[in-house]
Symmetry: C2
Subunit: 196 residues, 2 copies
């Protein structure tokens, strides 16, 4: 016999794992209940429906993402800007390779969002936040003179495209030199360390 909070937490954890592994539709409440060690109706004590459980997990995941991507930009100088930018990517790559569940379930939510507006609204908010963060970073780079001021917005967006998609390709098991790719992307927006 567990107390309320423990069971609640276990349901959430288990749902997260099974949804990521099998997808929402191929994960039944019976499967979750079995893995938690309770009966199916017990889940309904905590969540009104399967959809509410899915909604709750999405909100949790969104909160976690927003918490993680908030960057403090002000103390970046000519000397540490490049390394800071590189580290953002390196950390993400390492995290993707560590946590297999996150990317799978998040992709599941992206597909869900293309079909249900309520998810799309939240997803777009996260995306915009993500782009804005990189934009602030790049504009700071322009200000301190390490980033070229031409088309800053497009440069910034390009970096987001690259780092975001690296996660997707890792998911498909394709083994590429992802850190090398990120290094090229970073170099391409920096002044001085240029090609040609």
């Amino acid at each position: 016999m567990r107390n309320k909070e423990a069971t609640y937490g276990l349901i959430v954890e288990t749902a997260y794992k099974l949804f990521a592994e099998n997808g929402f539709d191929k994960t039944s409440l019976a499967m979750i209940a079995k893995e938690v060690g309770i009966s199916k109706p017990a889940i309904y004590y905590y969540f009104d429906s399967k959809e509410k459980l899915i909604d709750f997990l999405f909100e949790e995941i969104c909160k976690e993402i927003i918490k993680q991507y908030t960057l403090t930009v002000d103390d970046l100088t000519v000397n540490n800007f490049e390394q800071f930018l590189l580290n953002i990517g390196f950390q993400m790559i390492e995290e993707q390779e560590r946590d297999v569940y996150f990317n799978k379930i998040f992709n599941e939510y992206i597909l869900l969002a293309t079909r249900k507006e309520k998810y799309m609204n939240q997803l777009n908010k996260i995306q915009r936040g993500y782009f804005e963060n990189f934009s602030r970073l790049m504009n700071h780079g322009v200000k301190i003179g390490v980033v070229n001021g031409e088309n800053v917005e497009s440069k910034s967006n390009m970096l987001v495209m690259v780092i975001d998609n690296i996660g997707n390709f890792i998911l498909t098991g394709l083994e590429l030199d992802y850190k090398g790719i990120w290094e090229e992307a970073v170099k391409s927006v920096l002044k001085g360390v240029r090609n040609g």
Copy 2:
């Protein structure tokens, strides 16, 4: 009363559309049958199971992709290389914005692939082909002197990352200057038209 080929084609077309719109699990054979204008068991005359229908569509889509991405590189010169590269991206962006179904169903297959090996094998083959094509293109660019030879592989992979993810972001309805982003990506790998 239709003839065999016509019904067959209609089933395939309709399945493609409905799978893209609702996902595999949320599209029943009854829905497909209803839209085609036949009864559910009639589908079983053409496909042994729902899974076989899904498999068949995946193979068709893969064939189509392979046919489209094969690039002829040899007649590219210093004068038309940049425009050629730009056009690849522009065409893809326009196609993504035109055909809403393709990207949705393809993402559906990517998620499926992370859970079933038989799909992953085929997906990886396509991905590798995609990367190899861009690699050939970039190496040709190095040979004719428009692309810097340093880390060609990473540069090439970066371009694939960008163009591939643009499709995903279009899917989420986020309105960005995608052509501008692609222009920046292309510029970043070309000699001479550099920043800084």
